[in-house]
């Protein structure tokens, strides 16, 4: 798959001397959903702002659709739709007027049919004549998405798109995003909801302290970095573990009713076979067991902590 965005050696130092981005290299593939994860202040928004033209880079180069964002900014920017993190909306304009304004701003001829489709897709059609100030937070968020989609962009940046949006609406928004991907739009989203990235993304990038820590296919990442947890439900409660099992670093839970063993799927040996043998030798019996895969959230927390 070819790259639609190519970031090379990008650095950003603010006037205060704070280095928000340090030599970032990143390629976004055409048509994918890319989730950029990172704690607060990691540089996610700065990276997006530079690609979209809102902030100036200190060093480095960014190509969007093969066009340099500085020397060929018109072509580069016309490919992008941006939904920023904060709810920046007009107050007294109608939904229809503000979305139509965005289309004009991006140099596109009027197309009421397209605006109508966007508003309907985002369940805003019945609010089209309402002033933005009268809308709820979730609706304003959707108005911002509608503005970003008004000029039919090939790339959509969603900076924390579902912050402050209730669960039902969030799922509705995921549907919209999936629909956009199917129509060929490349989507880059930043999120604090790890489950959102897990649910939506094809690839995941993790940024921390201005550096890209990792970029990986979501499934590969889950397999590569995923830890599994084996939970054994014991036949009878035990007060403590014998010394012979100490090296497994087991955890006794539920007042001695369950044993928990974390193992690494990457490792040559998981240690499960020998653990089960040693348990039998120690006379500890169990009547059920289950395994769980660690979530992306666990992986993310681990990565950020160690980077």
């Amino acid at each position: 798959m070819s790259s639609i965005i190519s970031v090379a050696n990008l650095s950003k130092t603010y006037g205060s001397g704070f280095k928000a981005l340090k030599n970032v290299n990143l390629d976004i593939k055409r048509g994918e959903i890319f989730a950029l994860l990172g704690p607060n202040g990691a540089g996610k928004t700065t990276l997006i702002s530079i690609i979209c033209g809102i902030a100036n880079p200190s060093e480095g180069k960014v190509l969007v659709g093969g066009e340099d964002i500085q020397t060929s900014y018109r072509k580069a920017r016309s490919l992008i739709g941006l939904v920023p993190q904060e709810l920046h909306t007009d107050a007294f304009e109608s939904v229809w007027a503000t979305v139509s304004f965005s289309r004009g701003l991006f140099g596109k001829p009027k197309n009421p049919d397209h605006i109508e489709k966007v508003l309907k897709d985002l369940s805003l059609w019945d609010k089209k004549d309402n002033k933005i100030i009268t809308l709820s937070g979730g609706m304003k968020r959707r108005v911002m998405i509608a503005k970003a989609l008004s000029h039919e962009p090939q790339i959509l940046f969603l900076d924390e798109p579902t912050a402050g949006v209730d669960v039902e609406l969030r799922k509705g928004m995921w549907e919209v995003v999936r629909g956009l991907q199917q129509s060929g739009v490349t989507i880059i989203l930043t999120t604090h909801y790890i489950e959102e990235a897990e649910e939506m993304a094809d690839r995941i990038g993790v940024i921390n302290k201005g550096e890209i820590v990792l970029v990986e296919d979501k499934t590969t990442l889950m397999q590569k970095l995923g830890k599994k947890r084996l939970t054994l439900h014991l036949q009878g409660k035990i007060a403590s573990l014998p010394d012979s099992l100490a090296h497994y670093e087991l955890e006794l839970c539920d007042a001695g009713a369950t044993l928990v063993y974390d193992y690494d799927t990457k490792g040559e040996r998981t240690g499960i076979t020998s653990l089960l043998g040693d348990l039998r030798t120690a006379g500890i019996r169990f009547n059920d067991l289950d395994t769980t895969q660690s979530s992306l959230e666990d992986i993310f927390v681990d990565l950020v902590r160690t980077s």
Binding site: G15, I54, R77, S78, H88, T89, D90, E93, G104, L105
Partner: protein
């Protein structure tokens, strides 16, 4: 040239005018009418004539300029400050639009509004005093030039301001005094010699003088100097705006 973007910004700004019609058009007309009542009728009745025209007629160009200057600054500074304040500026900055086109949209709308306002005040003045415009083309030229120049100046203030207080500060503390002292209500020849020299340092004197010349062929300074000074101020504003966009001052990190 992204002409659709210029049009979008221009129409967006003009829509704000119609939405706030009372504040944008009606209130300057009302306050100008009050000036006519106070200065033209009450005080003017005690002043016979200034340089061959009645006092009420004499103050018309100055009153129009007073409104055009203050409204150009107010419209343009608010027009660009408000998106900064609400955060919607992100969309302008991320759009495929050049700085020149952004200025054209905002300043074009602000200047249009104040030109319309100037013409409305002119028509209002016609209800109070008899008017005869000697050089209508020059009158329009001065009106447009002033509206554009001071809209550019307002645009600069709007970018510079980081709070509503600063947005009001320059118009209140600098522009209004300069306009009142710029010969709106008197000819600077009526001042003592020393003050006349001081008055010539006031750029507004040249605008009002040129504008008044286009009405009555009477001027405090020569017309070419008036045009030259206005153009000089226009160029200064353009240079400052060019610098703002080149450096991203108060717009981009």
């Amino acid at each position: 040239m992204n002409h659709r973007a210029i049009r979008a910004i221009y129409l967006f700004e003009m829509a704000r005018t119609w939405r706030t019609l009372l504040q944008s058009i009606v209130s300057p007309v009302v306050s100008t009418s009050l000036y006519f009542v106070v200065f033209g009728a009450a005080i003017g009745s005690r002043i016979s004539q200034v340089e061959g025209v009645s006092y009420g007629t004499f103050i018309v160009p100055g009153l129009i300029m007073l409104s055009v200057l203050t409204q150009s600054i107010a419209n343009a500074s608010f027009g660009i400050y408000f998106p900064k304040f609400t955060g919607t500026i992100y969309e302008i900055l991320s759009a495929p639009i050049s700085y020149f086109e952004i200025v054209l949209g905002y300043v074009g709308a602000a200047a249009t509004k104040s030109i319309i306002l100037g013409l409305i005040i002119l028509a209002t003045a016609g209800l109070f005093v008899p008017l005869h415009i000697h050089h209508p083309v020059w009158m329009l030229a001065f009106l447009v030039l002033t509206a554009v120049t001071f809209s550019l100046f307002g645009f600069i203030i709007g970018i510079w301001a980081d709070g509503f207080e600063k947005l009001q500060m320059i118009p209140m503390l600098v522009v209004t005094p300069l306009t009142f002292l710029g010969g709106s209500f008197y000819s600077i020849d009526m001042l003592p010699a020393g003050w006349r020299t001081v008055a010539l340092l006031n750029p507004v004197v040249y605008l009002i003088s040129g504008f008044r010349w286009s009405f009555y062929e009477i001027a405090d300074v020569s017309v070419s100097v008036s045009i030259g000074m206005t153009l000089a101020f226009l160029v200064i504003c353009l240079v400052v705006i060019w610098w703002i966009f080149r450096t991203g001052y108060r717009l981009k990190n």
